[in-house]
Subunit: 323 residues, 2 copies
């Protein structure tokens, strides 16, 4: 895993992934007490940064691997990112999803051309189902974060942040990143190390699912006590990855932990002042930027809004309470 | 009014206005039955394309005019566009707003540094108040659409559409534009005439407020029967402008008229598939693209989403009914 892989992924993504801008609003600056820039990966294809990793991984396959196809386990954003990237490459995609996943996500993943295989969370092992399908059909597994080409793809987000920060004259800032398994955070951290060493990556997590924050504080990988029951489902993983954690440990500043209500308030603020739709998990970094000012250094902060795939009901709830 | 004024405005806006992209989703293509691209001016500074016209007009003033300040009549997007542009140029701005305008819009306009003067719609004449203030203080009036430098600023949207269409290999398409007084529509039409002659500008309006559509059909300026009572308030004007109408008559294809419910459905579709927030008036062009396929020519359509300044309650209503 090195910066050259991220640069090579950026070449492969060129003209395919959306080059997202940095958004800002004087009203957000006022709430935060410093300049705030938001990197809206909710505007990325399939509604999250996961398209970058999916594209990077699929485009790095050999012709024979692509022809055989890919497989992924995901109930959410990774599923759609891999499905869209595979379709564009003419590669068959099998996505293993729990049968109780939101119908819209299942429909969207199918709509992107993937074969969705449902399994029963209680009685079946998705790993067994996946292993059987993979060996039968020669599918290549694309892991959601602990996979070098996926990390390389997510890291292209960091190259863009570094480039735009240079244009804006920002040479020192905390870069806040919603963190699940750490693919996006570690990729951005490596890109910033190479291209904008005054910018520091910092993982952001929801309360009670702060495995990475605790892992960074203790120096060893810590697990979450539970894996369900958060509106921030898009960024809930059991623990930081074996590949991602050492990178984060070497490069990242301390994690920031926000409440679910703070994430919903950040969604409402983005609705009012940026007109972009952010999902709860994708809003934890903006929530940290707006509502945890004393944990942040410097006069400028950059927050990644990692995705926007939120159910209308959850979104309406955020607006009715906080907009 | 000519293309050179639009090109000059683009130079003045460079690095100040946001360069908005063209967004797309396979799910929108499926609804529309053709390729759909959306130009999200809701992501522009102050949440609408009006920032372009405001910036163009203020930046074209002499030093002395800027020092004296500007004045505008507006309860909405034009107010915020002028206020933000004036502040950035160090020009005082007075905005005349009706006292029953939404509190959030008054607060936002003040938050952008403007002096807001409220008037009573029933008992006072805003023109008299404005004329008095202008003569006392030497303020320059910035009209919302029938003003060459404002049209030039809005026209920069068309230069960007032409440039991106070229990159995408689109040489023929209808370009659908939410139309009030016609500043945006006429500006884009002129830019397309010069830079992408295969792209045709077409005004889109809400039912019962289709003055421009009827004016184009009859060849002479027609008025709306009423001016209030539409959720699409951002694009309701008495009639097309004296400057804008002849340009639209020369260059535009027929108007398209959509229902308010279609605009709300388009807002919900943009929420689900593009993750951008569009206001009802700003969604009429996307509504035409999605729900009026037989009125559109060609295999590709480009819809401008002109603004995103919508009250949370109205937005929640759109999602609960159509998302």
């Amino acid at each position: 895993m090195n910066i050259e892989m991220i640069r090579a992924a950026a070449e492969r993504l060129k003209g395919h992934a959306r080059r997202t801008p940095l958004l800002s609003s004087p009203f957000l600056d006022e709430i935060a007490g410093r300049r705030v820039f938001v990197k809206p990966e909710c505007l990325q294809h399939t509604g999250s940064f996961k398209f970058r990793g999916g594209w990077s991984a699929v485009s790095a396959l050999t012709e024979a691997q692509r022809k055989a196809g890919v497989i992924a386990f995901s109930s959410g954003n990774h599923a759609q990112g891999v499905a869209a990237a595979a379709r564009a490459h003419g590669a068959p995609a099998v996505i293993i999803m729990p049968s109780d996943a939101p119908k819209a996500k299942i429909a969207n993943t199918r709509g992107l051309g993937a074969e969705v295989v449902l399994y029963d969370r209680a009685g079946e092992s998705r790993e067994e189902i996946g292993a059987k399908l993979s060996s039968e059909r020669g599918l290549t597994l694309i892991r959601p974060y602990d996979e070098p080409q996926v990390i390389a793809g997510q890291g292209t987000t960091g190259l863009e942040i570094a480039e735009d920060a240079k244009t804006l004259g920002i040479d020192k800032a905390d870069v806040l990143i919603p963190c699940g398994g750490g693919g996006l955070t570690s990729g951005i951290a490596m890109a910033l190390e190479a291209e904008a060493p005054g910018l520091r990556a910092r993982p952001c997590e929801p309360k009670e699912f702060d495995d990475t924050t605790r892992s960074l504080a203790s120096g060893t990988i810590q697990r979450n006590a539970r894996l369900a029951g958060s509106l921030c489902d898009a960024i809930i993983t059991p623990q930081p990855g074996e590949i991602t954690f050492p990178i984060m440990k070497r490069l990242c500043g301390p994690g920031i932990v926000v409440s679910e209500d703070e994430a919903l308030r950040a969604m409402a603020a983005a609705f009012n002042h940026l007109r972009v739709v952010i999902e709860p998990g994708g809003a934890v970094a903006l929530a940290a930027a707006l509502f945890h000012p004393r944990e942040i250094e410097g006069d400028t902060v950059i927050a990644v809004a990692s995705g926007g795939n939120v159910d209308a009901e959850v979104y309406q709830g955020a607006l009715s309470r906080f907009a």
